[in-house]
């Protein structure tokens, strides 16, 4: 297993006071807490931080950890000394979370270590929560087409697993998950029993999968509604022609109202993402001129002469 330099993780000196450690935790927790952080790897960073703080905030664990010496470096290959934990008085039951922490932590401070107590579920620690395994949160990115039609996604996770002799190994795990049609951006899917195993017979945690939909070059999403900007020729808008508009389910013919304006929003009911209440599609018209050509110029010149029109008549002068 690899050595974890908890002081390095927390960005404090080895001689830091308990107060300094607490302050460092508060500062970094604000930066990396997955619920509020904008950092990409916040989840992992926060877990590392929690693990480091779990050891350094507890004077007994910190003293034992310090005995390992300052010679080890982050990531260095490490085996716990055979006399690990000897000569310390422990307050039993103080074992920290097993689920989600590194095997380095589990080996030195986990349930089977001299610091581990028989008390199960030290992990969650939340007031009012039973001794269940930790819930996990994973994110998955899908294309808008998959959100419309549904599909399956393969997700790679790293999950701690208890071996027969009580050690914890972080094992990669692959799940295939069905993504139902009509999932919206930011939607969560709960996979019961796919989190960390419970402690002391507690139930297994759940996996919450957060679905993010990648931006699409044509369609924009607003919940289950989609909108698309549709370029139309001036005469299509003026005459109210029938034009082809893209929708998630394929192109549809759409009759424009005669005299349609640029920026006008037309609704195609029920053409958004499917669901109990299916979303609508909004088509925003964008009037584009034909490419410059002698013939086009000729016709515009003719309109200029023959069509009395002041587009700025309504402006204050």
């Amino acid at each position: 297993m690899q050595f974890k330099d908890y002081y390095d993780v927390m960005g404090v000196a080895r001689g830091a006071s308990q107060d300094e450690i607490k302050r460092a935790y508060r500062k970094l927790a604000r930066k990396y807490h997955p619920d509020v952080s904008k950092e990409k790897d916040a989840e992992e960073k926060f877990k590392e931080l929690q693990e480091a703080y779990e050891v350094l905030k507890d004077p007994e664990k910190r003293a034992a950890y310090d005995q390992l010496g300052a010679n080890f470096r982050q990531g260095q290959e490490f085996r716990p000394p055979p006399d690990w934990g000897k000569g310390f008085e422990f307050s039993r039951g103080g074992a920290g979370p097993g689920g989600g922490f590194s095997d380095f932590f589990s080996e030195l401070f986990g349930a089977r270590s001299p610091f581990g107590g028989a008390q199960p579920g030290g992990g969650h620690g939340a007031r009012g929560f039973a001794a269940a395994g930790q819930d996990h949160v994973a994110r998955v990115e899908i294309d808008l087409e998959d959100a419309f039609r549904g599909g399956t996604r393969t997700i790679d996770l790293r999950a701690p697993e208890m071996t027969a002799d009580g050690h914890v190994l972080v094992k990669p795990r692959t799940l295939r998950v069905s993504i139902p049609a009509g999932v919206v951006d930011g939607q969560q899917i709960r996979l019961a029993g796919q989190g960390s195993p419970g402690v002391g017979g507690g139930p297994t945690g759940d996996l919450y999968l957060e679905v993010n939909i990648r931006p699409h070059p044509t369609f924009q999403l607003d919940g289950r509604d989609v909108s698309v900007t549709l370029p139309v020729a001036p005469w299509e808008a003026a005459l109210g022609e029938t034009v082809s508009a893209p929708t998630l389910g394929g192109p549809v013919d759409m009759k424009l109202p005669a005299g349609a304006r640029a920026g006008q929003k037309l609704r195609l009911r029920g053409r958004g993402l499917p669901g109990a209440t299916p979303g609508d599609q909004y088509v925003v018209l964008k009037i584009v001129l034909p490419p410059d050509s002698p013939r086009a110029r000729e016709i515009f010149e003719q309109m200029k002469r023959e069509v009395p029109f002041d587009p700025r008549a309504g402006l204050a002068r």
């Binding site: 508060r26 939340a126 399956t152 692959t174 295939r176 969560q188 019961a192 999968l209 209440t277 964008k286």
Partner: protein, 107 residues
């Protein structure tokens, strides 16, 4: 354990999902008094008059889970967690709105 051989079907936490009080506590693995407290301070807003008739939405589940994390990880009290939850929701909505407007301007 590899589950690659079969496809897992999850529960989509959308507006069609409702939990009775007991089920809500079970999914959260929380005790009743804790959930009651969250309702009392308005952090969760179940439909229905009495606890026996309460129905919690998926949004309540996500709010309760985030609250538990904020309280455990950051030592925030429940009132503070409520403020953070509301601000996070507002931020999410504003970011989504901003992205839509930016796209419109680009078009």
């Amino acid at each position: 354990m590899t589950n690659i051989d079969w496809i897992l079907e999850g529960e989509m936490l959308d507006e069609s999902v409702w939990y009775a009080f007991a089920d809500f506590c079970a999914v959260l693995r929380a005790e009743r008094p804790w959930v009651l407290e969250l309702v009392e301070i308005g952090l969760l807003e179940p439909h229905g008059a009495a606890p026996e008739a309460w129905r919690f939405a998926a949004r309540d589940l996500l709010r309760a889970r985030t609250t538990a994390r904020l309280v455990n990880d950051l030592g925030v009290n429940l009132a503070g967690a409520g403020v953070i939850l509301d601000l996070l929701e507002e931020r999410r909505e504003l970011i989504a709105r901003l992205e839509r407007i930016e796209r419109l301007i680009e078009d």
